[in-house]
């Protein structure tokens, strides 16, 4: 590691020009978002802890399938969808909305009006998730992956979403300056796409149900677009804000960002049907999705290059800034996740990986290694600005990072290799089918181990977050660095 003195820590250009008035304005904007954003984050944290514990339970019961078989709501087949839905709608979506609302206010340079309406929306969202989860546990799951919530819970979620996002979008009316920053493209896209996606899926599955296999096509289309155009878009938008902000340097190229954004919107929205490869669908649908998946190499390359060139020379800052460390990990995972996505969508690999744990591993990489890590990064940045305190223990942040990074790394590795072994056994006719299941079990024990790491990491983070929430953070003008900085000069933007 480079000696601390060589690290190009410098005053960000914006703050050099920033007058006291601008600092004051920023503080006013942050204050206006305090209650709703903390509400989102606190709910997200609670859901994350519940989801983590359930994921551990799910991971454990696959090795001990006879446990709790007398209680319908404790069986694997019901707890698993509950766990996934809690992580998708409880943790992921609420963290994404919290970060998005804050970023929107900052980037529109306007205070958030009517924050109480957003808080009401957040409550409604929590109620919607709770209704949906209860319904699944009681046996009212719809049976569509990621859309297991019955339609009445989905309706509550949509109403909540309207309350939240109409105000976030309205901030645009009051924005100052006509430059629309890259992050705002992604956020506006996500705000528009999510309700359309969710409403279209609900309508096509429950209101005017489509016939036969088209339901599965709509389901996969929904699932993939939720991953890319909702979580992915908010994740990438956040990375475009956090990376330049922390290192105090503008984004390398706007042109690359434009190409990256539009190709992302165009190509990743067409993926999804590769999940039904060689299934009962017209072949063109699957081929179109495979082609679109391969074409996502364009946004991956441009966005990755853009982030890399922005970071060029500033990588050592990751040694100090928690936000940067989590965000860059997430941004790099986006590249890995997409390349894995391309590789597993090819027909020649799908022969082995279709119907295996590898597909689960792929979604985990997208939802966790890419999206969740960026959300953690943004929370480390935003929360001190909302509560007026700094994170108390650098050690806890480091523990959180390494437990998360090793946890998700181990989990992805186990699921991808386990999936390959499983798929090879499934295609090997000299083995009975049960042997293909048995062949993946050792890898699933590795997943259970990874779950232990992730549980540790989430509880550490929740504890730290709780300290901040109750005003027990450090009172200081200097942000919390992961490692002490000996160099002179301050780094106010970390």
């Amino acid at each position: 590691m480079t000696p601390a003195a060589d690290i190009p820590l410098k005053e960000p250009t914006i703050s050099a020009a920033a007058s006291d008035a601008e600092q004051l304005e920023r503080a006013r904007i942050d204050a206006s978002t305090r209650v709703p954003v903390l509400m989102f984050y606190a709910s997200a944290m609670v859901w994350l802890l519940i989801g983590t514990l359930l994921a551990g339970f799910v991971s454990f019961t696959i090795h001990s399938p006879d446990w709790f078989s007398d209680a319908s709501f404790l069986t694997w087949g019901r707890v698993r969808p509950v766990c996934i839905n809690i992580l998708v709608y409880g943790w992921g979506s609420m963290a994404a909305m919290g970060t998005a609302v804050w970023l929107m206010a900052r980037l529109c340079r306007t205070t958030l009006r009517h924050p109480l309406l957003i808080v009401t929306g957040a409550w409604f969202w929590n109620v919607g998730v709770l209704i949906g989860v209860t319904a699944i546990l009681l046996g009212y799951s719809t049976g569509y992956q990621w859309l297991e919530f019955p339609p009445y819970a989905a309706l509550v979620l949509l109403v909540a979403y309207a309350l939240i996002m109409s105000w976030a979008v309205l901030m645009f009316r009051f924005r100052r300056g006509d430059q629309i920053y890259i992050t705002q493209w992604y956020l506006l896209g996500a705000f528009l796409w999510f309700p359309w996606l969710y409403a279209a899926a609900q309508a096509m599955l429950f209101v005017v149900p489509v016939q036969g296999v088209m339901q599965a096509a709509v389901g996969w289309w929904y699932e993939n677009n939720l991953l890319f155009l909702w979580f992915g878009a908010i994740g990438l938008g956040t990375a475009y804000y956090m990376i330049p902000k922390v290192i105090g340097r503008p984004v390398y190229s706007y042109h690359l960002a434009t190409i990256g954004f539009w190709t992302y919107a165009l190509f990743s929205s067409w993926t999804g049907m590769q999940r039904g490869v060689d299934g009962p669908f017209p072949a063109w649908m699957i081929t179109a999705s495979i082609a679109a998946t391969i074409l996502t190499i364009i946004p991956v390359a441009t966005v990755g290059l853009n982030h890399h060139m922005t970071m060029q020379g500033y990588f050592p800052v990751m040694r100090y800034s928690p936000t940067l460390r989590f965000t860059v990990f997430g941004a790099m995972s986006y590249t890995v996740f997409s390349v894995v996505g391309i590789l597993i969508s090819l027909r020649s690999t799908a022969r082995y990986l279709h119907f295996t744990e590898a597909i689960v591993g792929y979604s985990h990489m997208g939802l966790y290694a890419f999206f969740t890590m960026i959300m953690f990064g943004s929370m480390y940045y935003i929360i001190p600005r909302l509560v007026g305190r700094e994170w108390r223990y650098a050690t806890l942040i480091k523990l959180h990072f390494w437990a998360s990074a090793y946890g998700i790394g181990l989990m992805s590795l186990m699921l991808l290799t386990g999936g390959f072994v499983q798929g090879a056994s499934q295609n090997d006719l000299s083995l009975s089918f049960i042997e293909s299941t048995a062949s993946v079990l050792p890898y699933l024990r590795g997943v259970t181990l990874a779950m232990v790491l992730l549980t540790v990491s989430h509880f550490i983070f929740a504890f730290h977050f709780g300290l901040m929430l109750f005003g027990l953070g450090r009172t200081s003008t200097v942000p919390t660095f992961l490692n002490p900085i000996e160099a002179e000069g301050s780094e106010p933007q970390l």
């Binding site: 090795h63 694997w76 016939q211 036969g212 539009w262 929205s269 669908f281 022969r351 119907f355 049960i434």
Partner: protein, 311 residues
């Protein structure tokens, strides 16, 4: 980027493109299929499932069966699905299927439960795997026994080998035809012979009850199964007078205490009715089957082509 209008148009346009391209247009193409009939308008396939089986589909969805079991077979050039045989059953074991799945197979399915993962075997033709035993010996408490038309046996002509119970099976003596077929086949493997624990014939309704109640008890090879037990789908009653006809025959660790019996709930009966109704063996015009291959190995005198029953 300046100006909100081009941005919104772009956001709207890209997503509209995906929505129309991947859901609306395919829905026009395959969203309005009709069942297939022969020239006389009979022999319609597929047909809607019975009420019990439909309710069983809800039970299947509610309890997450779809997270481990697929209900779709890939074509022979894509994967080994069509060559795979089930782990249980008389030798030769029933195959997963004779042809790939097609959109028309799922016309009446709601929700459609294609599945995306195979921790457990594919179930697209699970009902077919049992028909041999079902036709010969309706298991106690089988809800489908009344629904399966007797003509089903004739519909299986392309694969008469699948209709051969183990010679030691009592039902085999009832049917001289299948006994003859069985004699032409190699002797069944040891695990196919009836288990001393009183395991019902594989994939019969009674077997499904046993398998749902205690998945790892149905075969010695099955101890690695990760399938959860669904004991909550069964009731434990004190035996009042006569033993119930549909009570499970359990031994060893699973057996209820003396004076008690384990009977399936109505949900369990519906679920089993649904599982027994899963059958994609009917030929479809748009799918090139591989039905001719096993027919060639059939004893002389069998019709080589599928002969659908006339009503």
């Amino acid at each position: 980027m300046k100006g909100l209008a081009p941005l919104f148009l772009g956001l709207f346009g890209t997503f509209a493109f995906s929505w129309i391209g991947l859901t609306v247009i395919p829905n026009i193409q395959i969203g309005g299929l009709n069942p297939q009939s022969d020239e006389e308008g009979s022999d319609t396939y597929p047909t809607p499932k019975s009420g019990m089986a439909e309710r069983g589909r809800r039970v299947y969805a509610a309890n997450g069966c779809v997270y481990c079991h697929s209900q779709q077979l890939r074509p022979d050039y894509a994967a080994a699905d069509l060559d795979r045989v089930r782990d249980a059953g008389p030798s030769p074991r029933p195959k997963w299927g004779e042809r790939r799945s097609a959109p028309r197979d799922y016309l009446f399915d709601r929700p459609v439960l294609l599945g995306h993962e195979r921790m457990g075997p594919d179930l697209a033709n699970l009902g077919k795997a049992a028909q041999a035993e079902e036709a010969a010996a309706p298991a106690a408490g089988s809800p489908t026994a009344a629904q399966s038309p007797p003509a089903n046996a004739a519909a299986q002509k392309p694969a008469p080998v699948a209709a051969s119970p183990a010679p030691t099976n009592p039902p085999a003596q009832a049917s001289p035809a299948s006994a003859q077929v069985a004699a032409a086949n190699p002797p069944p493997s040891p695990s196919a012979s009836p288990n001393p624990n009183g395991i019902p014939p594989a994939y019969s309704a009674a077997w499904h009850y046993r398998h749902l109640y205690s998945p790892r008890s149905t075969s010695r090879d099955n101890v690695d199964s990760t399938m959860p037990a669904y004991k909550f789908l069964f009731d434990k009653h004190p035996i009042g007078g006569e033993r119930s006809a549909d009570a499970l025959q359990l031994t060893g660790r699973d057996a209820p205490p003396a004076g008690y019996e384990i009977v399936p709930t109505y949900d369990a009966k519906c679920l089993v009715a649904y599982l027994m109704s899963l059958d994609q063996s009917h030929p479809l015009k748009e799918v090139r089957g591989i039905a001719a291959a096993p027919a060639a190995a059939a004893p002389a005198g069998s019709p080589p082509a599928p002969a659908p029953p006339k009503k």
